[in-house]
Amino acid sequence: MNKNSSLYHGLVLGAFCLGFGLLLAVTDALTAKDIAARAMEDRQNSLAAVIPDAIHDNNPVVDTILLDVAKDEGLTVYLAKKDGLVTGVAYEVSGIGYAGRIKLMLGVGADGRVLGVRALAHKETPGLGDKIEIKKGDWIERFTGLGLGNPPIEKWKVKKDGGQFDQFSGATITPRGVVGAIREGLVFFDARKQELTQPQPPQKVNEVR
């Protein structure tokens, strides 16, 4: 075949695409299982930080329900159960920080009090806003044990906005986003308490016992 024809160039390019496509397929097939296992461990670790081990005897990672929060939008809720009763739930909440969305994992006990909060992902300024990470400071621990009555909902704000939570020096917007997200998360728990703590059997997904 003429090496200068478009057909030849097309065949060369096509052959490389096929070859490297196969390589990627093989790599994916070899690593898919390990990657899924790692993702599971990650989720287990982030849940372990917001749901104390002592309050459950199930595996919350696979014991989940899906709640409708908006049209076409579901929220995966991880359930902590002891002897078949829901003792706590964990779900993702998010607030707007200084540089986009801050994703948090929020654990709430059956009594409506915060079991723990951890930052999952954020793009806040290193050295200022990233103090919400447990790695960088214990600021995020201050919410543990608090609920909507304690402090009252109008105090669930940073001090600058008339609430009771300290912002950290140099950053107000980040803590404001985090406190707001937790407040919204607790309001959500309050509004959907029935569905959250007494999930109906048909809603259970992937339950492993």
Binding site: G10, V12, L13, F16, L24, T31, D34, P126, G127
Partner: protein
């Protein structure tokens, strides 16, 4: 055509350093040098991709026609990046959590493409592999240096979290140089990247001039 390995090593590490002489790969350079550890990790991942893609392009250089060479290079670099990405995710997960977001950036790095075009497409497999390794190590060197300066000035530490990258045995590398309150936040933010890179480029040229070498017009011959 034959190029000595000593020459290749010298070129990659210093004379023709991807960042400090050719000013290529600025995107990951700016984004990933907020600490020495991040720079080191990004550099090493890039070196692996460069070595693998250099070797592959040299292997297939007889079949890649002039007209389709750029898409084929991009295909090869992208495939190597994906393989590194998946492998790290599966088997070096802690490191992946630190670098994972930035691995895909290697595809958009001009440095591997420039080396494929100017070196691997013309040279045999082994020298091309060596070129990838040493260009990648030179990149690592530059990123680690920039990261170290930014980290010391910005956060007061050096090689913080190195144990996450290299394993617990390397925690001795984590040094606090000065208290965090003395850090200048700007050095961690993007302007610091430009400033430090600029000063290091100047520093390299001053060393070259002092050593009596003619200043090369960086980048002009490589793009």
């Amino acid at each position: 055509m034959a190029t000595g390995y000593g020459r290749i090593a010298r070129d990659g590490l210093w004379d023709n350093n991807g960042v400090l002489a050719m000013l290529l790969g600025m995107c990951p350079t700016m984004a990933m040098t907020t600490s020495a550890t991040n720079g080191l990790g990004m550099g090493l991942a890039t070196a692996v991709v460069m070595a693998a893609s250099g070797g592959l392009v040299a292997t297939f250089r007889g079949y890649i026609t002039q007209e389709v060479r750029i898409p084929v290079y991009i295909l090869i670099v992208a495939a190597m990046v994906t393989v590194v990405d998946l492998t790290m995710n599966a088997y070096m997960h802690d490191l992946y959590k630190v670098l994972g977001l930035f691995i895909p950036l290697i595809v958009s790095n001009c440095l591997p493409l420039a080396r494929l075009e100017s070196f691997a497409s013309k040279e045999p497999v082994l020298p091309s592999l060596a070129d990838g390794v040493f260009m990648g190590l030179g990149f690592t060197l530059a990123l680690t240096a920039i990261g170290a300066v930014r980290e010391i000035l910005g956060a007061g530490t050096l090689f913080a979290d190195a144990s996450l990258l290299l394993g617990p045995a390397f925690s001795f590398m984590e040094v606090r140089v000065m208290p965090e309150s003395m850090g200048t936040l700007m050095m961690i933010l993007p302007p610091g990247g430009f400033l430090v890179t600029g000063f290091l480029v100047v520093g390299k040229r001053m060393i070259d001039v002092a050593g009596g070498k003619a200043i090369q017009m960086g980048g002009a011959h490589a793009v």
